[in-house]
Point group: none
Amino acid sequence: MTKDNILNSALQLYATEGYHGASMAKIAKGAGIKAASIYFFFKNKEALFQELFQHVLMEHFAYVRRSMEHVLKSGEDVETMIRTLFSTVSDYHRRHAAETRAYIALVTAPPIMAQPILKNHMQSFDQWLTSTLALILKEECLSTQEYETISELIVLQMDGLFWELNFYDDEKIKKQTDVAIHFILFYLKQLQD
Amino acid sequence: MTKDNILNSALQLYATEGYHGASMAKIAKGAGIKAASIYFFFKNKEALFQELFQHVLMEHFAYVRRSMEHVLKSGEDVETMIRTLFSTVSDYHRRHAAETRAYIALVTAPPIMAQPILKNHMQSFDQWLTSTLALILKEECLSTQEYETISELIVLQMDGLFWELNFYDDEKIKKQTDVAIHFILFYLKQLQD
Amino acid sequence: MTKDNILNSALQLYATEGYHGASMAKIAKGAGIKAASIYFFFKNKEALFQELFQHVLMEHFAYVRRSMEHVLKSGEDVETMIRTLFSTVSDYHRRHAAETRAYIALVTAPPIMAQPILKNHMQSFDQWLTSTLALILKEECLSTQEYETISELIVLQMDGLFWELNFYDDEKIKKQTDVAIHFILFYLKQLQD
Amino acid sequence: MTKDNILNSALQLYATEGYHGASMAKIAKGAGIKAASIYFFFKNKEALFQELFQHVLMEHFAYVRRSMEHVLKSGEDVETMIRTLFSTVSDYHRRHAAETRAYIALVTAPPIMAQPILKNHMQSFDQWLTSTLALILKEECLSTQEYETISELIVLQMDGLFWELNFYDDEKIKKQTDVAIHFILFYLKQLQD
DNA sequence: GATGAATGAGGATTCATTCAT
DNA sequence: CATGAATGAATCCTCATTCAT
């Protein structure tokens, strides 16, 4: 459908040139139509952006959540769960490179109107992550202090991996993911001894 | 000096709106002059950008390197050195927020002409970091395998902290820096036992 | 009927924004349909305009003529006839505010194609008005000179009232109408003495 | 000067096509420059309009006031003063046809932002006219009632002449002006007997 | 009858840049 | 050093119109 072509084209451009660099003409060309036609589907540039941005955030969130819910229900051990958490997120980004790059570009030089959506999303994600970590770690007999520290640690590793998506190739990212997982599990084990 | 005003104004704009969002008129206004006057100091928009970008990268590199050389020469223990490495980088970014945000914006949606400079810089920095880590860890009797793992770990923590600069306030960044340092040292200690 | 809705919507827009300000999209929205649908009823924007314009002029002319014919046939005295002439015109405009405002907007900044219609209408109206005034005044025993002067005077009062429709409210317009009538009758009486 | 050329060109276009019909490109062409250059002198289309509109209103007001002050000071009789009032206004409009037509076009289909300026101006003009009429008529020994009637009558004649500017040629306008003056004086004389 | 989808032309405005002063 | 004045190209967006459904 034309609308999807527009959204896709916009996504690619946001990924490589940011919001300001993605002109309506370029987006249209990428979608195989003329610039004027975009306005049949979207009120203006901002509305197109908002719809796309929101969609990208939703998709990512939904995917990660679904994947984790699945694992949590299956009653696996901590190691498997943490491994799944990291590889799910990492895989998602590796397989949705354009979305991820667009997301990063938009987060780091966000058009003003993106900021509320973004803030909202980050809050939701943080909240979800916190409660998910609680579920993962609930049988590990950790003190509050220990629990908080390990949570912060996990977030730090995820953020590190995320930033590295900008530079490293698949191979290296996979390796860094393993390092992160390994490290977290290692620390967890030490705590329990 | 006027030239510095121009560079400063450009930096602020790159930080908040990215390369495409920073028009010559806006830069000029921020510098208290008219757009035409910029051309007395810079051949064109690209030249201005290049000079500024190069300068920002240099400054950062030079600062971190100087700071680490100082510590390395003073023959402190591993802990101090790692602590210095992290807090130097972290402090620099916290105190040069505009430069950092501009850097991030430009890295994540880089105008084509920035890419060689960027690649070049990253290579140099990686190289320097690797050799510096070698110096820091040289007395710790690590196997090659262990050395590599811990290097990757350190880089991962640095990258995590860097990405978090986008969202967290000073307080939280400081805390996350402490978490990073704490765990690296912890891991190092475990390896040695 | 849809066609009437379109004409009505166009009328409102011509009244408030003139010909250039009345886009097909706005007209359609006002009629509760999509712009494309207008083309089922009208060949193009110009044809819609022409039909509407002609209709507005006709209606007004027909109304005033009908009303005056009625009075003329009833064989009233001069005063009543002049009073009727003025109040008929004045009332019509007050009760057809949109038509009147559209008419004024179109007369004062007329799209080229409107000008022949307009010229035609004005000629007809002038002609009718002249012959009507002749009928009204025929029993007043006026010299040609006197007759011409009083005709010009009447036209001048009508034009004054018409222009004032742009600014004054109903109340004031009614009052000014009375002033005009009073003045004309006064002058007429003086002539006869 | 270029700025004046722009204002002049805009004036002509407003006169013939109204605000909506006067595109920046057309205005620029009339001024012998390119559309982009207009923005060096005016912030945007609205600002250009406002400046021009205000200027037109001021000029007219100032001219009429100056002219009347002159006559009032010279202590002429009523007849001369009324004659001067009408011919001054009439002459001004006949000699500033473009300004007048632009004024009419803008008043009858006014862009929203023009309305406060317009309202303001009309109030000022009304006020001035009222007080001027008071000065003109002060020695005529009129009752309040009579004074008010004759004031309204004068305004009505002026409005009629103004509207007729849209259609009649110079010759006819002059004649109608004479008719108006003649009748006002006539009415005044009758009152005094 | 009505609309979804599309477009070429033109609208206002911004942009980087030039050049004479 | 700095700017006033100018512009071609590109920006976002609206317009009237078409055509298949």
